[in-house]
Symmetry: C2
Subunit: 449 residues, 2 copies
């Protein structure tokens, strides 16, 4: 592979961490693979030498997934960015793992198709599969899990397998596709993806509504979901996040109040009907002026502001650090969860804007970390408290960011020791030497370090 495999210190440093986590782990080597066959050969070599292997896409994961904490070989897949096949009539495509979502959607636009999963970052789709990513559209289109038909995967010994296929459903054999999705590079390295696509809707409309209280905004979300409106996006921003977004994204016409951003997809008539039902629910809950945004430019500005929420929050305190929590609860528990988290933020005396894909019950807080002694500790304590609130309400410690290194300690509490033990059995079967992304996802057994 010549210069595509390197021990260069700055390349290794670039590959030593993702975003949002302080965890640094320098790989000994970084290889820029261009084909599945290259990945296969690299992994086979690493396997023979018991060398740890970490797969790296865009490095935008948030829980330390890509840090090479035991050194070894990091395989960068970003050059595997070919769109191999698009089948408009079946609304599917086959791509290499390094294709980023913006590139795919630009490529598809002329054919009237799109791939809806939109985590904040312009992540690689291989990385999105590995972390079971979702985003603002998941309430309508599902997560990446629901949108993958099949995978090509390099196993721990370098063998290459194909899972799934092109058909929309199948009842033939174990669902290896779903087993690799969310396995965070610990069971195999995804190199190609067969993806479901969706038609760009005939009509899209947006709306916003502001509320006096978080409780009223959350109640609106619950009722909109229960009304069975096939809403495409329903996002909640608390007053603190709105303050940040108004300043950072220069939003006009908004007050510093809890706000909902809506998006409706469908036919012209369908979209109007959906928005009318949502409007009436919002107004019944004391929502202020329900503002329609049918103009694409205005809508794009709103969603750009939503996607920039993290940067807007950080801009409130430029000298502070930040990390993003990720909790999900059943929708019926959302009010309790959100109000509990707000109280915990106040108790902690920290600034932590909230924003969330609340149609799924999923929400984030951007904890701004004071640059003083003990600041990191206080932020971390608040993060654990927020996860604890979610779990105590029957939730999960991560709706979409994944486990990586950051959430390992919550897994037994969420799933139970027996279930984690079954996951360990699967890991041991598929990666007996433990070379694939060691120290991630599965917690160590009690008594291990």
């Amino acid at each position: 592979m010549g210069e595509r495999i390197t021990v260069n210190a700055s390349v290794r440093e670039q590959h030593s961490h993702g975003e949002g986590s302080g965890l640094i782990g320098m790989p000994d080597l970084v290889a820029f693979a261009e084909t599945t066959e290259e990945v296969s050969k690299l992994v086979a070599l690493a396997h023979a030498r018991h060398l740890p292997v970490v797969a790296f896409g865009t490095g935008t994961s948030l829980e330390g997934h890509v840090s090479a904490i035991e050194g070894g070989l990091t395989i960068d897949l970003s050059r595997m960015d070919r769109i191999l096949e698009v089948n408009p009539e079946d609304m599917d495509c086959r791509i290499e793992a390094g294709v980023v979502r913006s590139k795919l959607n630009e490529y598809l636009r002329d054919q009237g198709l799109f791939m809806p999963i939109d985590p904040g970052a312009d992540a690689s789709i291989g990385g999105m599969c590995a972390t079971r990513a979702s985003g603002t559209n998941a309430v309508r289109y599902g997560t990446i899990r629901d949108n993958v038909l099949g995978l090509t995967v390099v196993m721990a010994d370098g063998r290459v397998i194909k899972t799934g296929g092109r058909v929309r459903k199948s009842a033939t054999g174990y669902d290896l596709t779903r087993l690799f999705i969310g396995s965070e590079g610990t069971l195999g390295i995804i190199t190609e993806i067969q993806l479901k696509l969706h038609g760009i809707p005939e009509a899209i409309s947006g709306a916003t509504c502001q509320f006096e209280s978080m409780a009223a905004a959350v109640q609106t979300v619950i009722e909109v979901m229960q009304a069975g409106i096939p809403i495409a996006r329903i996002e909640l921003l608390d007053e603190s996040q709105m303050e940040a977004c108004i300043a950072y994204s220069k939003l006009t016409g908004f007050e510093v109040l809890p706000s909902l951003f809506f998006e409706f997809h469908g036919t012209q008539a369908g979209v109007r009907e959906q928005a009318e039902v949502a409007e009436s629910i919002a107004l019944d809950n004391g929502g202020r002026a329900f503002a329609w945004a049918t103009d694409p430019e205005e809508r794009n500005k709103l969603w750009k502001a939503r996607h920039d929420a993290y940067w807007a929050a950080r801009a409130m305190r430029p000298t502070y650090g930040a990390f993003v929590t990720d909790t999900i609860v059943p929708v019926s528990k959302l009010t309790e969860a959100v109000l509990g988290v707000k109280a915990a933020i106040v108790d902690a005396g920290l600034l932590a804007p909230m924003v969330g894909h609340v149609g799924d019950g999923n929400f984030h807080t951007v904890i701004l970390v004071p640059p003083e002694d003990g600041g990191q500790e206080r932020a971390w304590t608040l993060d654990r408290k927020i996860v604890e609130i979610g779990l105590s309400l029957g939730g999960s410690c991560s709706g979409e960011h994944g486990v990586g290194r950051g959430k390992r300690d919550f897994l037994v509490r969420e799933h139970g020791e027996e279930t984690i033990e079954v996951m360990r059995m699967v890991k041991a079967a598929l990666d007996p030497s433990g070379i694939l992304n060691p120290g991630k996802l599965l917690p160590d057994r009690v008594g291990q370090n």
Copy 2:
């Protein structure tokens, strides 16, 4: 367990086979479990004695899944039929594995909710999970795979684990839920299910349309799907199946022609809009009178006829046997597949009405088996030919009936030896003694019997 565990010959005989497959395998013992704990104890005992264990729901599977071909213990779960919890605000419920779908939907109706997955039989929902079932609604609501949030599973050594949870999505750990769905009792025994539910739509309307040719009917399906209509059901019946249904279900107003049955779910306006688009596509493809069926009674009669298609086909030749094939292809290959299958049926000189969930590319043929010497052989040859047509078009050998014993031989052809080997690694990890439903799903390695 007293009388709930038995060696009674007629009970064993009832548990020696499913439907639609000639495969008989008598268990040595049948136990009627009433709790997860009982299943756990039974499996632990069987594990200690290396006794095969087969889980049995309603016995309506079609590929020999429940035949105890190595004897041992069959655990009948039909008495585990409690609906444990319904959460209308989150649209989910928790049930025991033996609950049948008609019972669940009757229970839910007053709350405006339903569970959409509808295989022809009134199957147990545990069995539906084990076989990754779907049905006529899957084109809109997904298969059972997409509608399960979590499971309780008894593992091969009797340990009980819980997978998933109540949240709509999660990114924490391996997707064991999906691993057990479709594993056909070979990795664990599902005893409880946390299910997603759906709101009963505000409006439902149906329609039928008849065509001069299968090609025109299939082209209509392809165009309807490509138009992005969120159709709830779109079923194709060939002229032979229509002849059977007209006679058996006393349908009036139909000719013996290829026909599509449609169903639309949504708001009043949405349903009308969907049906109008579908009508225009059908008429453009030479469809005859597009007949609307908004009257619930008329619509129910149609769908009852559709669900009775198997019995209608059998009634055409009461002295014949029958077996149902199950093939799925990408929707763009549907015309080629259907016409290829029709030609193969003619070549074989057999009567084999076709019917299918063609919105997914999934279709069945009911091969009527002549009661003469060699009849079974001819039917079996046709079945293999039909699967071959599907696989050669990038399809799967089963869209929804599963593998069991009947489709094992196609698995390597469909997935490749390396992929099947990874499935075997998972099986060996979770059931090292091979006691769970032995001889099913995974093909033997070459050289094994």
